[in-house]
Symmetry: C2
Subunit: 155 residues, 2 copies
């Protein structure tokens, strides 16, 4: 299991793409600008995303990236897997010399937990996230019309 800042960048970029790519492709330069991620790092991430067909690139002027498929068909797990390898839990390689011992038990417990986290992230799609964001935006607007306060302004 792996869920690093790299995965966060990828998810963030994909969200940006889903939000801004409704009419025409989005350039990496725009995402770089929007999200504060270096262009070349985005290129690396998008190479991975493209390999898993989560995005589709269009070259030339007016080009950029589209989502590879509908936002509802792209899970967070898909995105994180694409850039973070993931796949290899502990599993003891399935054969190491921890047959039956405590080591194998704890490893399989971690393995189960990993699978569960994976399932959890598989069930959340880009589309889900965006819709929730829209709700929240609406809620926030409703709140703002009543309570005109930022709320969080800690040091």
């Amino acid at each position: 299991m792996r869920l690093s800042t790299k995965g966060r960048y990828a998810v963030t970029a994909m969200l940006d793409l889903a939000l801004n790519g409704v009419d025409g492709p989005v350039t990496l330069a725009e995402i770089s600008e929007n999200q504060g991620i270096s262009l070349s790092y985005l290129e690396q991430l998008f190479a991975s995303l493209r390999a898993k067909e989560l995005v589709r690139g269009v070259r030339g002027p007016g080009g950029g990236y589209y989502l590879g498929r509908g936002a509802d068909d792209i899970s967070i797990a898909n995105i994180i897997c694409a850039v973070d390898e993931w796949v290899e839990f502990t599993r003891c390689g399935g054969r190491k010399n921890c047959s039956g011992g405590e080591r194998c038990l704890t490893h399989s417990l971690w393995d189960d937990l990993s699978s569960e986290i994976f399932d959890f992230l598989t069930k959340i799609s880009l589309g889900d996230l965006i819709r929730r964001g829209e709700h929240k935006k609406a809620d926030k607007a409703a709140h703002l019309s009543v309570v005109n306060d930022e709320g969080s302004r800690a040091a």
Copy 2:
């Protein structure tokens, strides 16, 4: 959000501690042996775990570590937070110049997702994991009484 191999080591070690610490403390040397983690790295991890009072150390011969509280009162999130800092999502620092823009929207979406993953891991305790493992062990034993085969004996 952060969920790296470091967190995995910590969870694995805590599982080992919970499983073997039923009658008397467990030494880091034992955990090191069981789980294949270097002693000093365990010391580092346990320094963090102890700071959050997730474990309690006893010095001297016959000493070792106890869980800081019951296995049911220690969540996976507790453990990962202790060793991985976590806490700082993107949040734009709450003030950066992305007020209202796409950047802040995507960041807050990621933020929400992080919180959700956190909640998820908060609801799973060490005790939960162990009980699941016991179920699995029982299942396995039942199987073994029928199928008398190790299964995995690859090179």
